[in-house]
Symmetry: C2
Subunit: 353 residues, 2 copies
DNA sequence: GTTAGCACTCTCCCACCTAGAGTGCTAACC
DNA sequence: GGTTAGCACTCTAGGTGGGAGAGTGCTAAC
């Protein structure tokens, strides 16, 4: 038997149809699919013996597998991959649902910090999987405005507004008792010098501030805090990943025992990996699919991700998508993610138009 | 047998000691405790037969129960309640850990939006349960400052800074193409009229703005958006519940099958209930313990919560605490929650001092 | 190339058994 | 009267064995 996991290669149409049938049957039934069931439920025009023959071929090509001798076939990760790449088209979200979702987004049109949350929630309920979304993070933060508010005489709150609409806040302790007027003057000065700059630009501009006068020292101190906040903001790969509908994933029978679930949750807490994914997805404008063991951290071996970027290329990028069991209705998931990322693009466009 | 769940009543010292031994043994072993094991591991000075007798009494008092005839005893919710109320004192966190935690909080002393996240993370890792925390939400939002930034000629971003240091952002669409100068003028006007007011006060003050001039109309439009944002902020019972370490809960053997876990997660998504809890806890300055079925939503029947408020009574209140299986080391959990809520109080005090 | 037929394999489920843990009760003891 | 040893009893966990059912792979015929 030299034909052990022969590389996939192009499949003839009949084999494709059978692979497709196995996958689509398995996606709904969650249990191995036998040759009998296939001939009964799909008009393949051949007998179960022939189907068995082809199933054996698909298995030796590495696209299907066997839990044990006398069980039906289940797709491998490679099988799903072939299915997604070569067999099916994505299924667009039905018009009715598109309208409903547009309506919901209309409700939060003027609350930009809600957008990505709603995206995750929408994806979760539409695909019955977990929805994921990150806010659109600027590649390099450009200051748009600085605001200083006195909290008490030795503590000030710095509010930074970025060109992309994001906001950051930080506290600065003050060396001397200070009044709001002095702070406001410093804010005016810093607005003049630092606005429209990135972290390094702001640091350079700050050097030019006279450190001899009391107000100059105050400006320096506050300015340094601002630069540090900018640097921290730039350094964060992703600011936040919002997820919703993890309950949907818990309901899948493959996660009935909680050790598998635990793996998924611990992977979701793995910020470094999520950052990498966002990076991978942000590059192009497509919907990306990551299936089972294709995912770097082994914890994610039982789930698939369907992700798409949104935002303004080169300026601010976020990611939306779904996470579900590898046994996932990919065509629908891809269609839904495509629609939602498009919607997010429209919203973000308003900020730049 | 008329002695079916006789009300607890005061227990003699020996019964208390045995109840305590059963609970503490069960908390670490997670399996029913028999009379034999008790005499072996705790010097009770009596034989297993006597212990059996007392166990039977504790059971008829409703403090212990039996999974089945030939199994040992496990505590009931009432048993844990009696244990927490009448038998044990809370165990303070060891000095070493207190220092480590203080050090970590020192790192984020000037990043107030991190405080409650760190609280949850700290509680999770220290108690090996899930940590929960809400930001300190003002009871009624007082405006401290308004900032307007032009996004594009028909869209402006409103930034509201509250007395308590919180920030809210909203977008306003503008009826006519507008320049930043005009917006800044409006911001000055609104700052003058609306600052230090609550939602209703601001709405009243807005009435006085002349709606005839173009800038008056702009001020009205922006002002109305501000009032709506204030109202929304006030209406939200809790803004956000941050949780960390849910993995710890998943690891407990009682959640090996995922249906129980699912219940917990779905209860955590129940905002209304969390709001009620926060309300209940916010009133007094104690650590509150909610055990198993004492919790309103039946989904929470398998877990306990140990919660404490922090913040400024009458002004801004948040809640920190842990969520774990009912089989939880209560004395340690209570001690840790008490310590962390004290720490949070210190941090918040800086904002008011 | 396709199909019917068939032996084979493996899981699932049920019934059954045994060992072990722990109980409740009773009678004796201090 | 409280405490204890002894004992019969109950229930679970875990192991064994067998039968039904599903599905396979192979072979020989079409």
């Amino acid at each position: 038997m030299a034909r052990r996991t022969r590389p996939p290669g192009p499949l003839d149409l009949r084999s494709q149809a059978i692979l497709r049938a196995v996958i689509e049957e398995y996606v709904v039934s969650a249990s191995p699919v036998g040759s009998q069931a296939l001939v009964e439920r799909y008009r393949l025009g051949v007998s179960s013996a022939t189907v068995r023959h082809i199933l054996a071929e698909l298995e030796s090509a590495g696209l299907l597998t066997h839990p044990h001798t006398s069980a039906g076939r289940i797709p491998t990760d490679a099988g799903y991959r072939y299915y997604v790449e070569s067999i099916v088209e994505s299924v667009p979200l039905p018009q009715v649902e598109q309208l409903m979702i547009r309506h919901q987004f209309g409700q939060v049109e003027f609350a930009s910090e809600q957008w990505f949350r709603l995206a995750a929630t929408t994806l979760a309920s539409t695909t019955r999987a977990a929805g994921l979304a990150t806010p659109a993070k600027p590649l390099a933060a450009h200051l748009r405005r600085i605001d200083l508010v006195l909290v008490n005489e030795r503590l000030a709150s710095v509010i930074l507004v970025f060109r992309e609409g994001a906001i950051k806040q930080a506290l600065v302790s003050l060396e001397e008792p200070t009044e709001q007027e002095a702070l406001t003057a410093v804010a005016d000065l810093l607005n003049e010098r630092l606005v429209d700059r990135t972290a390094t630009g702001a640091a350079a501009a700050l050097e030019a501030v006279d450190a001899e006068t009391p107000s100059g020292r105050l400006a320096r101190r506050v300015g340094e805090r601002i630069v540090r906040t900018l640097r921290e903001y730039d350094a964060a790969v992703i600011e936040e990943v919002f997820s919703d509908g993890l309950l949907n994933v818990m309901e899948a029978p493959e996660f009935a025992r909680s050790d598998k679930l635990r793996r998924v949750f611990s992977a979701l807490e793995n910020r470094a990996w999520l950052g990498e994914l966002v990076g991978a997805v942000a590059g192009s404008n497509r919907v990306h699919v990551f299936i089972g063991r294709e995912n770097q951290p082994l914890e994610m071996r039982d789930v698939s991700l369907v992700l798409a970027p949104y935002g303004r290329p080169g300026r601010a990028i976020g990611v939306v998508g779904v996470l579900g069991p590898t046994r996932m209705p990919y065509p629908q998931a891809i269609g839904t993610v495509r629609f939602v990322s498009g919607l997010m693009n429209e919203l973000v466009d308003h900020l730049y138009a």
